[in-house]
Symmetry: C2
């Protein structure tokens, strides 16, 4: 497996780098970004936080706008940001922003034409961590976080793989995709009409059935335009109560769905993950 | 003078907002961004740091990528980011990125076709601060900073108006535009062939002749692709030595010309300005 370095920027005494590689899972060339904290120069292996972005994003949004590097540099955590879908002219797409390229929803598509490339679950859970752990000076300790569609991805992936991640968090996640428009549209297209397959990728449904608990933190803006129709944190909260699942869920008055919200609270998320990664 | 609010995002308990207004100086509609720290909710007037961006930027780059809000929220400083040139279909432009729209160079153009709109010096020094101080709960204490073309703007504007700014700083500034390609191209177009008019907008030349000193801080990346040909911090350093001008100039090994460099050191710049604004 060869990977190609596309860019490198020194950042808070560490390095932000972009790479491209040929993904087996996705059957196309993919780009990802990694932040390597200064700790690696002493030969120390650092844990990794995987960040899953929201609709329309690439590997760049989080790295450019969240300010995560400052805290990652202090705490000694590598950050990996994959793209949000397979990419390329030969990859199926849709004219709307919430399906197709930029909108992979972190599932393995079973339906044509999506199933040829849209295997984002396998990419994020298996192929990319294997590549990262073989290529960079990182340990096998992992945490996962994300925003909106990526918040859905982070929570559902961690609950489906509770021993692979020491902690999970999300900003403004789609908490109950099976009952909200973005999720219903994407799951119909990628997973088909049988809604029993949808439940396996719904954070609220997964939390209701959880047996192995992953420490969880969710932050949501109270002035988020998507809150009522698309995100439904109350569904996740109810599932956590039903199951006695430890979930730190906060609604922050006045904050919206943007990276200005994420930047305001990313430090709290990093410290939360560090407290579990370093155990 | 009416201004229109275009967007508002809560950020670190304060607010990032964008506005448009009809500029008299520039003879067109202009957009700017302001960050208002949480301190204003208690009725306190806060000082203002003006940030001048580099080539191709708008009001958005610094606000989205620098992470400045975290420190501004702590220190109680408002941040104002103007656009980098007049804008619009009727505004003269050039097909290259380093002249015309996105490349105003913070001077008052005297040459056609530029002189009709390109009066960025008057806009940044006079019109915009007047509007800001009449509209928002800010004091008349001002500092100025910027990046690359905006670093040239910040240093030259502060030295031309040493009593208006309590401090000046720059990341990767064009320190000697009269002797480097970006500056020569822009000054030829905007100011004409008489090079004596250029010297009045050259940070190194202004520093050589300074009589009233503005506290100054400059940071430069050692791996910046533009360092040797375009930026020439050694010229500014020589001028400071000649004049005994207090200049904190540091070269940071490995850092490039990007916002990853700015984000890494913006906290130091804010604390530097705060130490002078709060005197």
């Amino acid at each position: 497996m060869t990977i190609e370095n596309l860019s490198a920027n020194k950042s808070f005494a560490g390095w932000h780098k972009q790479y491209s590689h040929q993904s087996q899972a996705l059957n196309c060339s993919m780009r990802f970004a990694i932040y390597l904290p200064p700790h690696i120069s002493s030969g120390k292996k650092v844990p990794v936080l995987y960040w899953l972005s929201g609709l329309t994003c690439t590997d760049e949004n989080f790295m450019q706008k969240s300010g995560v590097q400052r805290v990652a540099a202090e705490l000694g955590i590598a950050i990996v940001a994959p793209d949000t879908s397979p990419r390329g002219e030969e990859v199926a797409d849709d004219k709307h922003y919430d399906l197709g390229q930029g909108a992979g929803f972190y599932v393995n598509a079973t339906q044509a034409p999506w199933n040829r490339h849209y295997q984002m679950y396998d990419y994020v859970v298996k192929e990319l961590p294997k590549l990262i752990e073989e290529t960079f000076p990182v340990s096998d300790k992992r945490a996962i976080s994300g925003h909106s569609m990526g918040g859905h991805g982070a929570l559902s992936i961690a609950m489906l793989n509770p021993t692979r991640y020491s902690s999970m968090s999300a900003f403004s996640p789609i908490c109950n995709p099976i009952s909200t428009p973005w999720g219903q549209k994407a799951f119909s297209a990628y997973l088909g009409k049988d809604k029993t397959t949808w439940q396996n990728h719904d954070a609220s449904e997964l939390m209701k059935q959880a047996t192995h608990f992953v420490p969880a933190k969710v932050d949501q803006g109270g002035a988020d335009d998507f809150l009522l129709e698309q995100l439904k944190p109350e569904t996740l909260e109810a599932a956590a109560k039903m199951r006695d699942y430890t979930l730190e869920l906060k609604i922050h008055e006045g904050y919206d769905h943007s990276y200005y919200f994420i930047a305001s609270f990313i430090e709290e998320h990093l410290r939360f993950h560090a407290s579990h990664l370093n155990r």
